[in-house]
C-alpha cells in the first residue's frame, strides 16, 4: 500500500507537469481526491490494515494528500495566471483610435479676456457696475467735464438718438452714476458696449467694448494708479510685462496718461506687431478731475481717485493674434472653435 501511495504521488506529479488546461487539472483532482479517486480508494483500503499501523499510515496518506493538494493548487494558480495573461492579451485594443470627446462649446475671445480682467479686479477688491448703453448727453459728456461746445467732443464721433441722448461713447457714464449714488470708498469696474461712429474695417468697429476702473477714497495717489496698472498689465499680458506712461489729456482726469505695455510679442525689443517701438498703447488713465468729483457731490479736498479704461477688442486681438476685428463679430464657428472657455497668460 505504501508502494501504491508512492506510485500515486509520482504519477500525479508527472501528470501535473504536463497539464496546460484548467479542465485537465480539475479532472486530475477528481481522479485523485474524488469519491472514486485513487487516494480516496487508498484511504478506504486502510481498514484492512492492522489497527496499530493505521495511525502511521494515516499520517503518511495525509502528508501525501497535503503535498498533492499543494501541487495542484500551485499549478492551478499558475494556470489561472496564465489564462489571465492570455485573456488580457486577447483584449488588446488600438489605443491610437480617437477617444469619444465631449463636444463642449467655446467662449468668445472677448469674454475670455473680459473674464480675466474681472477676476483680476475682483481679486483687488473691485465690484462690477453696469449702466445703460443709450445714455443721456449729461452722463456721457457734461458730467465728465465735456460741455456741449468742448473741443474734446471731437475726439469721439458720437451717434445721436436726439439732442440729449447718445449711444454712450465710453463706459465712463457708469462711473458718474455710481459716484452719484454711492459714497466713497468706491472701487468698481464698468465693462460694456460702447459706440463710436467709425466705419467697419480691420481695426475699427462702430461697436466695441471697454472696461473702465474707478477708485475713489481718501488719499488715493497717482502712485496707486501706477501700481494698480502694473498689477493689471502683468495679470493680463504676463508677468514680464512692463508699462510706460505718457502724459496725455482727457477732460475727466487730471493728470491724464496714455499707457503703453511692453510688446507681448517681442517683449520690448521691437518687432512688426509693435512697429519697432517695443511698446503698444493700450490704456487711458488718470486722476479723476476735481470738477467731475464735484459734479458727483464728492469733495475733491477730501477725496481723490483714479480711473482708467481699456479696449477689450484691442486687448483680445493682441492676446490671441487676431488681425481683423471683423472676425470678432462674424461668429464663424471655425474661428470660435479656436478658443477655449478660459484663458491664462
Amino acid at each position: 500500500m505504501r508502494e501504491q501511495l508512492n506510485q500515486l504521488q509520482v504519477t500525479v506529479e508527472e501528470k501535473l507537469s504536463k497539464i496546460t488546461q484548467m479542465q485537465d487539472l480539475e479532472n486530475l483532482r477528481v481522479h485523485v481526491f474524488g469519491k472514486k479517486g485513487e487516494l480516496t480508494a487508498i484511504l478506504r483500503s486502510m481498514g484492512s490494515l492492522p489497527a496499530d499501523e493505521r495511525p502511521v499510515f494515516g499520517q503518511m496518506v495525509n502528508e501525501v494528500r497535503n503535498k498533492l493538494e499543494g501541487f495542484i493548487d500551485r499549478v492551478k494558480e499558475e494556470l489561472t495566471q496564465k489564462m489571465q495573461e492570455e485573456k488580457l492579451k486577447r483584449e488588446t485594443i488600438d489605443i491610437t483610435m480617437p477617444g469619444r470627446q465631449i463636444k463642449m462649446g467655446h467662449s468668445h475671445p472677448l469674454s475670455i479676456v473680459l473674464d480675466e480682467m474681472i477676476e483680476t479686479f475682483i481679486g483687488m477688491g473691485y465690484t462690477i457696475a453696469d449702466g445703460p448703453e443709450i445714455e443721456t448727453d449729461y452722463f456721457n459728456f457734461e458730467a465728465l467735464n465735456m460741455p456741449k461746445t468742448h473741443p474734446a467732443r471731437d475726439m469721439q464721433d458720437t451717434f445721436y438718438v436726439d439732442d440729449n441722448t447718445v449711444l454712450r461713447t465710453q463706459t465712463s457714464p457708469v462711473q458718474i452714476r455710481t459716484m452719484q449714488k454711492q459714497k466713497p470708498p468706491i472701487r468698481i469696474i464698468c465693462p460694456g458696449r460702447v459706440y463710436r461712429s467709425d466705419e467697419v474695417d480691420a481695426t475699427h468697429s462702430p461697436i466695441f467694448h471697454q472696461v473702465e476702473a474707478l477708485v475713489i477714497d481718501k488719499g488715493v495717489t497717482m502712485g496707486d494708479l501706477i501700481g494698480t496698472l502694473k498689477t493689471f498689465a502683468k495679470a493680463i499680458f504676463g508677468d514680464k510685462t512692463e508699462i510706460r506712461l505718457r502724459p496725455h489729456h482727457f477732460p475727466y482726469t487730471e493728470p491724464s496718461a496714455e499707457v503703453d505695455v511692453s510688446c507681448w510679442v517681442c517683449g520690448g525689443g521691437g518687432c512688426r506687431v509693435c512697429k519697432s517701438e517695443g511698446f503698444i498703447e493700450i490704456l487711458g488713465a488718470g486722476m479723476v478731475h476735481p470738477k467731475v468729483l464735484e459734479t458727483c457731490g464728492i469733495d475733491p479736498a477730501v477725496y481723490s481717485g483714479f480711473a482708467f479704461g481699456i479696449g477689450l477688442e484691442r486687448t483680445a486681438m493682441g492676446r490671441f493674434n487676431i488681425d481683423d476685428m471683423r472676425l470678432l463679430y462674424e461668429n464663424d464657428v471655425r474661428f470660435l472653435k479656436q478658443f477655449s472657455f478660459t484663458g491664462g497668460k
Binding site: 472677448l110 510706460r244 502724459p247 489729456h249 481723490s304 464657428v333
Partner: protein, 792 residues
C-alpha cells in the same frame, strides 16, 4: 501739427538725435505721431540739364540724351516722352539708390550704353502733394534756376526732417512752432530763444485808415494794423520751402505771412484789401439772417444770427475765426492791407465752423480757446516779416479794441499737497525750478504761481500736479498699492454670478458664444415677419447712422443670431450652435426714454432638431434649480414654424419662445430650412434661479421600477401622460422617464407607442410588489380612461 527740425532749431538748440528728441516729446506729453524724412534712402540723384536729344539708331521709342550734371556730360538712353532740350531734370547717376530699393547700374539699351537714368518724382519716393504740377508717369521737370550737379535734396531743400505731433485739445499753445519749441526747451532743459521783433513805422496812422468796433461779446479783442504800398507777389524761396515743409501751399507773400504767423505762434491772422472795405470800417458783429458771404474757397455761405462775422460798413467780409471773404482778399492789385489778429470765443467759433462744415487751421486753433495776449504776438511777427521781406510800409499805431485785459490766474502753490496727490517726495525747490522752466511766475508774497498767458489750461492744484509729474516723468513715480481703512470685498453680485453660470452652462452644452452688433435695419423686422403692431416695432432710431443696416437699435436679437448662422451656412460650415447674452433696446414712448433688456439667445442648425434646442434650454433651468417651467405649443408666432414652436412659461406666465424657424424666415436669412432659435430674457434667470444647495440623505431603501408601453393616438401629448402618471402614482412614485416613442409597422396608423420607466421608492421601508402593483394599476386605469391608452 507738423514742425520741421530746422524751424524748431530757431527757438531751441538741439544737439540730440531725432529719435531721442521724439522720445523726449512723447514722454513729456507731446506725442510724436510720425517722423517724416523726405527722400530717405535716395542717393546719387543730381540736378542735370538736357543739352541735346537725338534719336536712337535702333529703336523708335528710345532717345539718346546728353545731360550736363555740372562736372561732366552723361549719355543717357531714355524712353521718356515729356522731355525737351534745355529741361532741368533729376538724374540718377551710376550707383544711385532710388525708391523701392532700385539701384542704378550702367546698362546698354539696344546697343547704346546708358550712364544713368532720368527720374520721375515717384521714382524718388515723393507723393503728388510734394510736387506741383508734375506728371507722375513722365520725367519730373525741375525749375530751370537750380544749380547743376547739386544733389536733388540740396537743390530742393528737402533735407529737413519733419515731426508730426498729436496735440491734445487742452494744449492750444502747442499748435505752434513756438509752443512745441517751449516744450522741447523744458524737457531738454535748454533756453527758449524768443524771436526778435523789429519793424519801423511810417508817420501815417493806422487809425486814419480804418475804424474798428466790436458789437459782439464773443470777440474779446480785435487788433488791426494797416500796411500801405504793399508789393504783393511771390514769396522768397526760404519762406515757400518752410511753409511747404509743414504742408502749407504758398499763395502770395502777404497770405504766406499770415499762414507763417499762424503756424509759428499759433495766432490765426487775416489780411484784407483795405480799399475793398466799404466805409473804411471793421465791425465785429453777429450776422443778420439772410446775409451771405462768399468765402475764400469760392463757396457762398448762408449766414445766420448765431455766427460772428467781420463786416465793413455794408456787408460781412469774413466769417470770424473761420475764413476770409473772397471779395476783400489780397490780390496782385492790392495796395493797402489791413492785418487782423483777434481773439474769439472758442465755443462760438466751433459752432459756426460746424454749421458751415468748414474746419480750417484758423478755426481749429480758435475753438480750443486762444489767449488774449497771443493777438499781439501774432501781429508783431507779421509786421516783422513785412519789414524783413520789404513788402510794405507799416502805419503807425494800431486799432486795438478790447474791453479789458483779462486778469491772470494765480494758483496757490502747496508742494505737500502735490506730493500727497502724486504719491511722491519731490522737494519744493525742485518743483519751483520746474515751474520756472515752464515760464510760470512766482509770487513770493501770496505763495502763488502765475501760469504764462499761453497756458490757460493750468487752473488748479491738479493741473500743477500734472506739470510736476510731467517734468518728473510719470514713469519715475513709485508704484504703490491701494491702501484704505475700509476693507473692500471684490465679488460678483448674485445677478452677475447667474449670468456667468448661464454662459458656463451654455458652453458645457456645446454652444459657442457669439458677439453681434446691436444695430438693425427696419427690413429685418419684415424678414422676421414681425407684425406692424408689435412692440418690437418701437425702435430707437439713430440720427446719424453709418448706413441703412445700422439705423435702428435692435429690438430683437433673433436677426443677429440668424445673421451669424447665415454666415456660417453660406461658408459651408456643416453645423453651428451659437448663443449670445446681449441687450435689446426698445423705445418707451410713454416715458420718452428707452428700455434695455438683456436676452439669452440661442440659435442652431446642423445635426440637431427641436429637442436638442429644448434640451439646452431645459438644462439651463435645471442647473439653476428653476422649477415650474412649462412649454406650451405656439402656433401663431409668425417667425416660427407653426407646428414646432413653444412658449416658455414660468408659473404660467410667458417668458420666452423656442422653436424651429419658419422656413420663409430661414430662407430670408440664408439659413438652412431647419434652423432653431430660442430667446429668454436673462431677467427670468436672475429672478428665479435658486443658488442654495442643500444635500439630501441618500435613500436607505431600494427602488422598484416598472416599464410600461402604451398605445395611444398620435395627437396625445406626452405631457398629458406624465400629468396622469404623476397624479396617480401615489406618494411612493419617485420618478418617471420616457424612454421610447415608436411609430411604424408594429402599431396601427395614427397611433404611437410610448414607453416609460416608472420608479417607486419609500423613505421608510422596502416596498412590496402589492404596493407597486396597486399604484401601477391606478395609473394604467386612469391612462385608459382619460387618454384611451392601451397597454402593449
Amino acid at each position: 501739427m507738423k514742425v520741421s527740425m530746422s524751424w524748431l532749431k530757431e527757438f531751441v538748440d538741439l544737439d540730440i538725435s531725432v529719435e531721442k528728441l521724439s522720445e523726449g516729446f512723447t514722454l513729456s506729453g507731446t506725442k510724436v505721431e510720425s517722423v517724416i524724412r523726405p527722400m530717405e534712402g535716395i542717393t546719387g540723384v543730381l540736378v542735370g540739364k538736357i543739352v541735346e536729344i537725338e534719336p536712337h539708331p535702333h529703336a523708335d521709342k528710345l532717345k539718346i540724351c546728353r545731360v550736363d550734371i555740372g562736372s561732366e556730360i552723361l549719355c543717357i538712353v531714355t524712353g521718356a516722352k515729356n522731355i525737351s532740350e534745355q529741361d532741368v531734370v533729376p538724374v540718377a547717376t551710376i550707383g544711385a539708390n532710388l525708391a523701392e530699393h532700385v539701384r542704378i547700374e550702367k546698362t546698354s539699351l539696344r546697343g547704346v550704353e546708358s550712364f544713368g537714368m532720368l527720374c520721375s518724382y515717384v521714382e524718388l519716393g515723393l507723393q503728388k502733394e510734394d510736387v506741383e504740377d508734375a506728371d507722375e508717369n513722365g520725367i519730373w521737370i525741375l525749375p530751370t534756376n537750380l544749380k547743376l550737379g547739386l544733389t536733388i535734396q540740396e537743390a530742393l531743400h528737402l533735407t529737413d526732417v519733419v515731426l508730426e505731433f498729436e496735440i491734445t485739445p487742452n494744449r492750444a499753445d502747442c499748435l505752434s512752432v513756438e509752443g512745441i519749441a517751449r516744450e522741447a526747451s523744458v524737457f531738454l532743459k535748454k533756453a527758449f530763444k524768443p524771436k526778435a521783433i523789429t519793424y519801423r513805422e511810417t508817420k501815417e496812422k493806422t487809425a486814419d485808415y480804418v475804424h474798428v468796433s466790436i458789437q459782439d461779446t464773443t470777440c474779446s479783442r480785435y487788433l488791426g494794423r494797416v500796411v500801405k504800398n504793399v508789393k504783393v507777389g511771390e514769396s522768397p524761396l526760404w519762406l515757400k520751402q518752410k511753409l511747404k515743409s509743414v504742408g502749407i501751399r504758398s499763395i502770395n507773400n502777404i497770405v504766406d505771412i499770415t499762414n507763417y504767423v499762424c503756424h509759428e505762434v499759433g495766432q490765426p491772422m487775416h489780411a484784407f484789401d483795405l480799399q475793398k472795405l466799404e466805409g473804411s470800417e471793421i465791425i465785429v458783429r453777429k450776422a443778420k439772417e439772410g446775409e451771405v458771404l462768399e468765402t475764400l474757397d469760392e463757396k457762398v455761405r448762408d449766414l445766420n444770427a448765431t455766427m460772428t462775422v467781420i463786416a465793413d460798413a455794408k456787408k460781412p467780409v469774413a466769417l470770424a475765426g473761420v475764413m476770409g471773404g473772397q471779395a476783400t482778399k489780397v490780390t496782385e492789385e492790392t495796395k493797402t492791407i489791413l492785418f487782423e489778429a483777434a481773439c474769439f470765443n472758442g465755443a462760438s467759433i466751433r459752432t459756426t465752423a460746424k454749421q458751415v462744415a468748414l474746419r480750417t487751421d484758423s478755426s481749429a486753433r480758435f475753438e480750443k480757446g486762444l489767449p488774449f495776449e497771443n493777438v499781439q504776438a501774432g501781429m508783431d511777427l507779421a509786421l516783422t516779416l513785412v519789414e524783413m521781406l520789404g513788402v510794405g510800409e507799416i502805419c503807425e499805431g494800431a486799432c486795438d479794441v478790447f474791453e479789458k485785459t483779462p486778469a491772470r490766474r494765480e494758483i496757490s502753490f502747496e508742494p505737500e499737497k502735490i506730493n500727497a496727490f502724486l504719491g511722491t517726495q519731490i522737494s519744493e525747490q525742485m518743483m519751483r525750478t520746474m515751474f520756472e522752466g515752464l515760464a510760470f511766475q512766482w509770487n513770493e508774497a501770496s505763495k502763488t504761481l502765475i501760469p504764462p498767458y499761453f497756458r490757460r489750461d493750468v487752473q488748479n492744484m491738479q493741473d500743477l500736479a500734472e506739470e510736476v509729474a510731467r517734468c518728473f516723468d510719470y514713469n519715475n513715480i513709485e508704484p504703490t498699492l491701494l491702501s484704505g481703512k475700509t476693507s473692500m470685498q471684490g465679488r460678483r453680485t448674485k445677478e452677475q454670478k447667474i449670468a456667468q453660470m448661464v454662459k458656463q452652462i451654455m458652453i458645457s452644452c456645446g454652444m459657442m458664444e457669439a458677439y453681434t452688433y446691436s444695430f438693425m435695419s427696419e427690413k429685418v423686422l419684415d424678414k422676421l415677419r414681425i407684425p406692424q403692431n408689435s412692440v418690437l416695432r418701437n425702435v430707437v432710431q439713430i440720427q446719424n447712422p453709418l448706413g441703412e443696416d445700422f439705423r435702428y437699435m435692435r429690438t430683437t436679437t433673433l436677426a443677429s443670431i440668424l445673421g451669424s448662422l447665415g454666415v456660417n451656412f453660406s461658408r459651408r460650415n456643416l453645423s453651428a450652435k451659437l448663443f449670445e447674452c446681449a441687450r435689446v433696446y426698445r423705445a418707451n414712448e410713454h416715458e420718452n426714454n428707452s428700455i434695455e433688456e438683456e436676452m439669452l439667445t440661442i440659435g442652431m442648425y446642423g445635426e440637431v432638431d427641436f429637442y436638442d434646442l429644448k434640451g439646452v434650454v431645459e438644462t439651463v433651468f435645471t442647473r439653476l434649480h428653476i422649477k415650474n417651467v412649462a412649454f406650451l405649443p405656439e402656433t401663431n408666432n409668425p417667425t416660427y414654424h407653426p407646428g414646432r414652436c413653444a412658449k416658455v412659461l414660468m408659473d404660467n406666465r410667458e417668458v420666452g419662445t423656442i422653436g424651429q424657424v419658419h422656413p420663409e424666415v430661414a430662407k430670408d436669412f440664408s439659413c438652412p430650412e431647419k434652423t432653431y432659435l430660442a430667446t429668454i430674457p436673462m431677467q427670468v434667470f436672475y429672478q428665479h434661479a435658486n443658488l442654495e444647495q442643500n444635500s439630501q440623505p441618500l435613500p436607505k431603501y431600494p427602488a422598484m421600477s416598472r416599464d410600461i408601453a402604451l398605445l395611444l393616438k398620435e395627437d396625445i401629448w406626452v405631457k398629458q401622460i406624465e400629468t396622469i402618471i404623476l397624479e396617480k402614482g401615489t406618494e411612493i412614485l419617485e420618478h418617471c422617464e420616457l424612454f421610447d416613442v415608436y411609430r411604424g409597422d408594429q402599431v396601427a396608423k395614427g397611433m404611437k407607442s410610448v414607453a416609460y420607466k416608472i420608479t417607486f421608492r419609500s423613505q421608510e421601508r422596502t416596498l412590496t410588489d402589492e404596493e407597486v402593483n396597486h399604484a401601477m394599476n391606478r395609473m394604467i386605469e386612469a391612462l385608459k380612461m382619460e387618454l384611451g391608452a392601451e397597454l402593449r
